[in-house]
Symmetry: C2
Subunit: 274 residues, 2 copies
């Protein structure tokens, strides 16, 4: 046993200090960053780990629209809400608070690793050289594509591609190339962020591009607010789906060559023999 310990020479005191160093479990003094996926929104679609991690956190960082989904759970916590397109600011804020030793929860809807906060937070950890200073956990959640699929039936039963139509951070040509390649290889396609008040032409171009490769009768599922309050779903076709309301809370699922609709369900068979 070391006798020059500044804490004292009893094993108990040393054990406490070892815990305090945060190396063993990070429960004392060392900051934590929990990057949490809420899932689609309904409370019963959250995982136990997501609920627990919110409970364990002292400071909650997120986009205010998503924080509303858990406002009862964070009512007595230090909440740092911010607006859309503030991801970089939120990331630095969360990382800096964790470096100070706080227990920080960063809230994403769906899965934080799918167009969510996981990437930007990990980049900020590196830019702040905080890798050795904080414990990071990414907590997955049910992503919108599978929540929407569950509402529609079983449209994602075969290989599929997830593509965001938001061209704020991605060149539009690259997005179109992905749509076209996915179409020609007969992927089911889930489209996130299909349309906003300012972005309206993108989904029209995508429809025209898909119609070059798939028949107008191809099923298209439209799900707004999948598995959260106000869920609405429609099964339409590639030729007709733009006649329905589509916004940023909508996920579109474009069937592959085998997808069919029956009794209101949208189903992509996997190929079992009956």
């Amino acid at each position: 046993m070391r006798t020059d310990s500044p804490i004292g020479s009893s094993p108990g005191a040393i054990a406490i200090e070892e815990k305090g160093s945060g190396i063993s479990d990070g429960s004392f003094s060392r900051g934590t960053l929990a990057i949490i996926g809420l899932g689609p929104g309904n409370r019963d679609q959250m995982t136990g780990r997501a609920l627990q991690a919110i409970e364990e956190s002292d400071i909650i960082v997120g986009y205010h629209t998503y924080l509303k989904l858990v406002e009862d759970l964070i009512a007595h916590k230090d909440v740092r809400a911010s607006g859309m397109r503030k991801e970089v600011d939120r990331a630095y804020l969360a990382v800096d608070l964790a470096i100070e030793g706080h227990k920080v929860a960063v809230i994403s809807s769906g899965d934080p690793g799918v167009y969510g906060m996981a990437g930007v937070i990990l980049e900020a950890v590196q830019l702040r050289q905080a890798q050795e200073k904080v414990n990071v956990e990414v907590i997955p959640g049910v992503t919108s594509a599978t929540a929407a699929a569950a509402a529609l039936g079983a449209p994602l039963m075969h290989d599929f591609a997830i593509i965001s139509l938001s061209d704020l951070l991605t060149p539009w040509d690259l997005i179109l190339r992905r749509v076209e390649n996915a179409a020609t290889a007969d992927f089911v396609i889930a489209l996130y962020n299909p349309k906003s008040t300012k972005r309206v032409h993108q989904i029209e171009e995508v429809q025209q591009l898909l119609l070059k490769h798939r028949p107008a009768s191809t099923p298209v599922g439209i799900v707004r607010n999948a598995r959260r309050a106000g869920e609405e779903k429609t099964v339409s076709t590639l030729g007709e789906f733009l006649n329905h309301d589509i916004d940023m809370f909508t996920v579109l699922i474009i069937g592959n060559s085998q997808t069919y609709t029956k009794d209101g369900w949208m189903i992509t068979p996997r190929g079992y023999r009956w």
Copy 2:
């Protein structure tokens, strides 16, 4: 009020019969089919709805490997376990039990709509013409791709494709075409079922195909038992990843042209300006 009701003329009696018909909430007499995604396996990665639906069910149908993940929850229920590749038998069994009026839970790992039981169950409902006879609910879960991504950091932050390398039900040429199209459109690619004891050449062919379109230094994440007991993760490269153990419990994530590794994390930037 109708006076020729066979049930009786009191509103109360009619209300009870309406409940009994199962139209209002399905809680009496009408069979139910809950198609449940357990998520990756760890109990705290399950959603509340999945736990609740197991609790509400009388009969549990599933592949025995997955049923083991919840054996404590189903110990006192009527459990119908079966083996691999018995999906069609399981689907008919579940649907027939629901038609008889039972509360049936069908268990999938991950999300039941991603290579799980959702499609085959809905097809069986139609083949049995049971659409009007049973209530069906698909309960999404955290799918392996995002569970594996959470373990690796944030590799799925941009558009991605999910492809199963199992060619039992899908022509191998189509699988290769999907891999190639995903590669040329710079999708991140998550590979399910990459290799089994009997299927070994497929992943080698896929590696060679990917190497035609992406450099050998491209990051490849290898996650075995993502977010369940025995989780193991490695970050390798497209040139080297076959030197690591890969099996049916492994998910592979192939980076896109922007993906990088740092401090053991695998990150695909979304394109934020810092």
